[in-house]
Amino acid sequence: MPRTVITILCVLYLSSGQAQLRDCWLFLSPSTSPEEIELSECKIEGYSVWFHALAVSGTQNPSFYECSMIDSLQCYSTELWPCQLSRDITDTTIIEESSSSFDTTGIVSDAMDSTWNIPNVSDWEVTGDVSVKYEQLEMMQGYDWIHTGFNGDGVKIAVLDAGFEGFMNDSAFQHLIEAGAILDTYDFVKKDNNVFHSSNHGTQVMACLSGIQKEEGTEAQYLGLATCAQYLLARAEQSFSGRLVKEVNFINALEWAVNKGAHIITSSLIFGEQLYTRQQMNGKSLISLAAEKAYEKNVLVLNSAGNSDQNHWEILGAPGDAEHVLTIGACEWNGLKSSFSSVGPTADWRPKPDLIARGSVFVTSNNVFTTESGTSFSCPLVAGFAACVMQLHPDWSAEKVRSELLQSATLFPYRDYAHGYGIPQAGYFLFPSDLPPSDSATFHLEMMSDQVVEVVVHYKEVTNLQAEDEEIVEDPDTEVPEDENHLLYVQLLDSLGRIVEYWTVVPEGKMGGLYDISGVPGGALKVYYKKYIQQMDFR
């Protein structure tokens, strides 16, 4: 018996030879139709209209030029990534065009005016930290949107996730369902229209976009800001599927969302660890290029940064590495990056993430309210915020909205690889004249030696903030009181302008810290504190 088994195993081993399995994208020539392609001994996983490419898995043929059916075939192997593309796929013509202007007909709010019946939630189960639901919007001044009547009305938001289990039966979304605000759904894994299964992650994401909690005798509590937006729901990922399948599903979902006229695409799916190398997080993966395609079609694309900072991976994943995708990290109550939130930069040293929002949020799933943590939830919070901006400025392009969102953030124009530009603020859009002054010094830098710079913080007591004649009492000799919790951000830049080291500190006394600049000849030290930025160059 053992002899037989060993013989069989040896035969199997020898017969395996040096089989090289390949998962490939086959970029077809413009004249070739995907229907013409027949490949033996491998499986066509899908087709991308934008890239005019077939996703082929499991072939043992190392050279697709041998496939006689394919004319001018060009092979792009994900197994051999990164490789040079034989043609510039960024110039690929997008087959189907989507609308570029925002539809602000307001069908949801109209419907809600007459049909909204916010359910009595006496039978809802509530767990977790209820106070968090306030913070998740307030940190973005989200209640200013709510109180001024902005709710994403007329904006189409596509949500790409792993499943929306329990969504249809959840009281927090009945206002959307009754108003017919779920415009379309598609499951790109199973190729059908039912997305309400497999995972409740998407349902929790939807809560951060549009969830409403109504408790008996109280006003409705908003979990997200886009409560009157219209939605396209796509199931675009299945756990444990291979990289190629994940790429196909996500790219097809992006194409679908754009073709359905989405104004915003938000995804809390991150493709990084276990799929790519960190060196490949340079915005050149097909997933990232597809997200760029969507942006070129005037669609604002948001993606969560990822939750990998505490493990080996650390950095963000695709498509968050794409240049124009708004990559959203997570922060704590005080604006400090959450410990899990992935950091930048991209592999080609572009600064990321772009923005942050609260990472521990109040969500709902199957009528159970609880707290969850992750950049998966900070991303839809900002997506809802962006929907309100689009509602306020329906004439703005996606590029303009993206740019203004960045400028509205708390740290702008300062940014680092952990916080991006900070948290977007509704006041920037709603009350631009009330913006606080940013030109008064809150600290100064002192060269202690050729190698050390000290940040000395000024204490400023600002009184009567609401009045026009606010008074600022500044005394450089006064130490910062202990109850001051403003964060001081410091970064060390090299001669190429790349952030090689950065800190976030709480000053105590006048001490903002001593910083060793010896490692960056020709570089600079940049400091941000209370809206004031100063940079010291070492040239």
């Binding site: 040096q18 499991g58 197994e79």
Partner: protein, 263 residues
């Protein structure tokens, strides 16, 4: 005040002064080293290379058959294993694997009158342990295609074991009428000449990611005949089925290094 004490207070005072004015660092990161690591992505098919995993197995003898004259105390049975496995894909659906490791198998034997291993003495507890070095070969079918151990899979294979050490532990309660005081006595009998040095198992397991459940069936007889016991006759066999729970770990970066080198 003596000089050492003076310096001590000076140092403490200096430290306290620094602490009282130092900022509190909440976040400090260095970016330069982020992309300097030599690594590549986990190959989902891992074609042309061996994928290395370490597996810890915990389990026990399954009470699904009678064991001849031995009455087995199943709570006293235990199986522990530690395997180093290597798998190599044969295609999209199958992989070939082999492994080396260590395993401990303990049979708890319930004492009865006239039982064979006790020389007519009724012990309170008795266990028969074998320490073995297994070598196994298996074929893996990927239920989730193009994965190593990332998705669902099931394995069937053969495992050969060399029992390098055998140990029979017998425990008896001391009789105060014979011994001084009440207590327990353990009797250790090792290098048992009636336990087979070689064993073969059939292996079947199903797993997903880091966890798997499996069963092993011993093809060979546990004992061998010896003139030193049971009048030279072969002892009745012990239960042949073993159930295992397996925990598998792998180093993604090391396993993928080979891919990068090939690039």
């Amino acid at each position: 005040m003596s000089a050492p004490i003076k310096y001590f207070f000076l140092i403490v005072f200096s430290v306290l002064t620094l602490m009282s004015t130092a900022q509190k660092v909440l976040l400090h990161r260095k970016s330069a080293a982020l992309f300097q690591r030599n690594e590549t992505a986990q190959s989902m098919s891992n074609a042309g290379s061996w994928f290395y995993t370490r597996t810890t197995l915990l389990g026990s003898v399954l009470p699904i058959e009678q064991s001849g004259d031995f009455d087995i105390a199943y709570p006293g049975c235990f199986f522990f294993g530690n395997d180093h496995r290597f798998t190599r894909p044969l295609g999209r659906h199958f992989s070939l694997g082999w492994g080396l490791g260590f395993q401990l198998l303990t049979y708890g034997i319930k004492q009865q009158s006239g039982n064979i291993l006790s020389n007519q003495v009724i012990y309170k507890r008795q266990s028969l342990n074998t320490y073995a070095l297994p070598l196994d070969f298996f074929v893996r079918q990927h239920i989730t295609q193009k994965s190593n151990t990332l998705g669902w899979y099931w394995d069937f294979g053969w495992k050969g074991c060399w029992n390098f050490y055998q140990l029979l532990i017998s425990q008896e309660e001391l009789d105060p009428s014979i011994h001084q005081g009440v207590g327990r006595r353990h009797i250790y009998n090792s290098r048992l000449d009636y336990v087979s040095r070689w064993a073969q198992f059939g292996v079947l397991r199903i797993g997903k990611g880091h966890m798997a459940v499996g069963v092993m069936h011993r093809f060979t007889h546990f004992f061998k005949s010896s003139s030193s016991i049971y009048s030279g006759q072969l002892l009745p066999d012990l239960p042949r089925w073993i159930g295992t729970l397996e925990f598998t770990f792998w180093n993604r970066n090391k396993s993928a290094k080979k891919d990068e080198d090939e690039l």
